[in-house]
Amino acid sequence: MTRSSFNQSERYSGVAIGLHWLLALLILGVFGVGFYMADLPFSMTRLKLFNWHKWAGMTILALSILRLLWRATHRPPADLPAPQWQLTVAHLTHWLMYALFFAVPLVGWAYSSAAGFPIVWFGVLQLPDFVPKDKALAEMIEPWHGALAWALIVLAGLHIAAALKHQFIDRDGLINRMRPGRG
């Protein structure tokens, strides 16, 4: 353990911490599945993975709405003293990631609708199509879903690298603010 320079009040709230880690796992999982399934030939496995991917994506979208509402109504801990450029980059990364939490699943949803496969969440709740069924449109949307997902993963990598730098180079205990469990 590194020395902890934060007290309880400087940690994120329990809900924020829970959503952070839950969404981190879901996003990495759904990205991995998406990457693997994209070029699979027609099979039972492909059908299952595509549907699981969509269910997970819609779950991420729903949880991200909750998370944004929580974030908007609960002040996060104050910034650590750091060079201004680092604070700017950190905040920009966070907000871009938030934007992508919505953009990636929404674009995926649009792609699914355009391709003629409405999303049926967990096989039960059919979600409305907000774009028409249109093959050309689907082909236009598809690369954007992938590109935005990659952008999110690259930003997440940057975010993780920064957290590790705080933990192992700065040794300032920043990670403690988002560490699961009691403060």
């Binding site: 030939p41 027609f42 039972m44 059908l47 003629g116 409405p118 999303i119 049926v120 967990f122 059919q126």
Partner: protein, 194 residues
């Protein structure tokens, strides 16, 4: 060639011709308008409705709205013409687990009874044959007329496993529902007024 044989041939031909004419009159020359007709189906995969249609089929119709019970309808559908609009799915359709097109290139329907079911409605009972399996189906049909065209439309549900459509791992109805909704719209000319 002697005269008797010529006249015999002539009368045979004439008789055959009259028979055809007679049948034609009974059919009142009813013809499908392909551009306004459609046979499609919806299956559910993990809850997701997936629409497909048959691009190639033909129907013979002899129907008198005044005497529906004398009518007859038959269909011949090229199973290999089924399409979901996606090349990778369409490539699966002819395979043995699905329609097994090389062995069963056609599906057929032959009506056995047609009865009136209210104004502009009839109920067609018949035998549906797909992939070597034959089952009775009852098909509610709604009739509408516009100008010279009569449109017969409706839908009915079949159990795909009754016809072994989707065998092996695909027989799992939790993945692909057993119920398949078949929808049809037939535009026909030459039908007497309703």
């Amino acid at each position: 060639m002697n005269t008797a044989s010529v006249s015999s041939k002539f009368f045979k031909t004439l008789a055959a011709g009259l028979l055809v004419l007679g049948a034609g009159a009974a059919l009142a020359d009813q013809k499908i308008v392909p551009a306004q007709s459609d046979i499609s189906f919806t299956s559910r995969q993990m809850g997701v409705p997936v629409d497909g249609k048959f691009k190639k089929w033909d129907a013979q119709i002899a129907f008198d709205p005044k005497k529906p019970e004398t009518g007859k309808v038959s269909f011949t559908i090229d199973t290999g013409s089924a399409t979901f609009g996606a090349a990778e799915t369409d490539a699966e359709v002819p395979k043995a687990a699905w329609f097994n097109v090389p062995k069963f290139p056609q599906a057929t329907f032959q009506s056995s009874a047609i009865k009136a079911a209210g104004p502009g409605k009839v109920e067609v009972t018949g035998k549906l044959s797909i992939k070597g399996a034959v089952h009775d189906v009852v098909v509610p049909v709604t009739l509408t007329q516009a100008g010279a065209t009569t449109t017969a439309a409706g839908s009915f549900t079949i159990k795909r496993l009754d016809f072994k459509i989707g065998e092996g791992e695909w027989a799992d109805t939790s993945m692909v529902a057993n119920d398949v909704v078949v929808k049809f719209k037939l535009a026909v000319t030459g039908v007497a007024p309703l």
